[in-house]
């Protein structure tokens, strides 16, 4: 594994992604992300972590987005 790939996995791990639970395919997809994509993903994760715990408890898929 190159240093760059190791660093990316490390950033995801530090952000709280359960990298150990990812399949090999998922890890490959993640390692293919560019810096912009990785930064947005980490931002999304940090916002989720900031959200109130009660919203995390809901796992149902209700959706609501419209196009």
């Amino acid at each position: 594994m190159t240093d760059d790939r190791t660093a990316r996995i490390g950033r995801l791990y530090e952000a709280g992604f359960v990298v150990d639970a990812f399949s090999e395919e998922q890890v490959e997809v993640l390692l293919g992300l560019g810096p912009d994509e990785l930064n947005i993903l980490l931002d999304i994760k940090s916002r989720l972590d900031e959200a109130a715990p009660e919203v995390e408890a809901h796992s149902e898929i209700a959706g609501g987005a419209l196009f």
Binding site: F17, I40, R47, A51, A52, A65
Partner: protein, 247 residues
């Protein structure tokens, strides 16, 4: 030999879904907050207003992206099939913003107030980024936006649940109900297109960046709509509760 700038990747839609799966908990948590039972009626009205602000950009975005495809077509093998898809999709989506205003009126909201209100910043961030990418980068970025919005369409039972939770008539939920049905087919068609288009690596990155940005702003919008203290639109008084109905 295929020019790598224009290579197709038959696994691209699956990879995009795998990437978006990492953002999905944030969107799911935001929609759970939005649809929580207490105070649902007022929040539903705010949702309709905000979604109208978003939806009224859908057809113009599709048409703008198709026009850019026509400009790019001579030197870009993805532009032709992409442009045809976008124009077809524009016809399918036309008029849906009017459905939302009709739902809003039935629900006791004021469509004129929704039209006059400044659209939420999260809506501008979502739709506005697409205008930028279409105009200054490549119209394929719009497919990332579609993948997220149609991939997080209302769940099949949501309209019924909202009707029960708000005591509003079924006619107030046409847009939510119909998009639960329509967007499943749209998503399958979109996945096929993503896998077939000769995009090359850079254009695929544009789709992923657009999709992740849209997911982030969608979660933000839902959280803002979920906040009780911050009415998104000035709305007419909501109808009086039905006796024996929810508070």
């Amino acid at each position: 030999m295929t020019d790598p700038r224009f290579s197709a990747d038959p696994r691209f839609s699956a990879e995009l879904r795998a990437t978006l799966a990492l953002a999905a908990p944030a969107v799911r948590a935001a929609s759970a907050a939005l649809w929580r039972p207490s105070g649902l009626r007022a929040r539903y009205l705010g949702y309709l207003g905000a979604m109208h602000a978003l939806l009224r950009a859908s057809v113009p975005l599709l048409e703008l992206a198709a026009a850019r495809c026509a400009e790019l077509a001579p030197g870009d093998p993805a532009a032709g099939p992409l442009g045809r898809y976008l124009l077809r999709h524009a016809e399918e989506e036309r008029g849906h913003d009017d459905w939302l205003l009709a739902d809003l009126a039935v629900a006791g909201g004021d469509p004129a107030a929704a039209l006059a209100a400044v659209p939420p910043a999260a809506v501008a961030a979502m739709a506005g980024a697409q205008y930028y990418w279409i105009e200054h980068h490549h119209p394929v970025a719009l497919l990332g936006y579609l993948a997220v919005l149609e991939g997080n369409a209302p769940a099949p039972g949501l309209a019924q649940r909202l009707a029960a939770g708000t005591a509003l008539p079924a006619a107030a939920f046409r847009t939510v109900r119909d998009h639960a049905l329509l967007d499943t087919g749209h998503l399958a068609e979109l996945d096929g297109l993503l896998d077939r288009l000769p995009l090359g690596r850079d254009r695929r990155t544009a789709v992923r960046v657009s999709a992740l940005h849209t997911a982030r702003e969608l979660a933000r919008l839902f959280h803002e709509l979920a906040a009780d203290h911050r009415p998104v639109f000035p709305l007419a008084p909501v109808p009086a509760p039905v006796p024996g109905g929810p508070p």
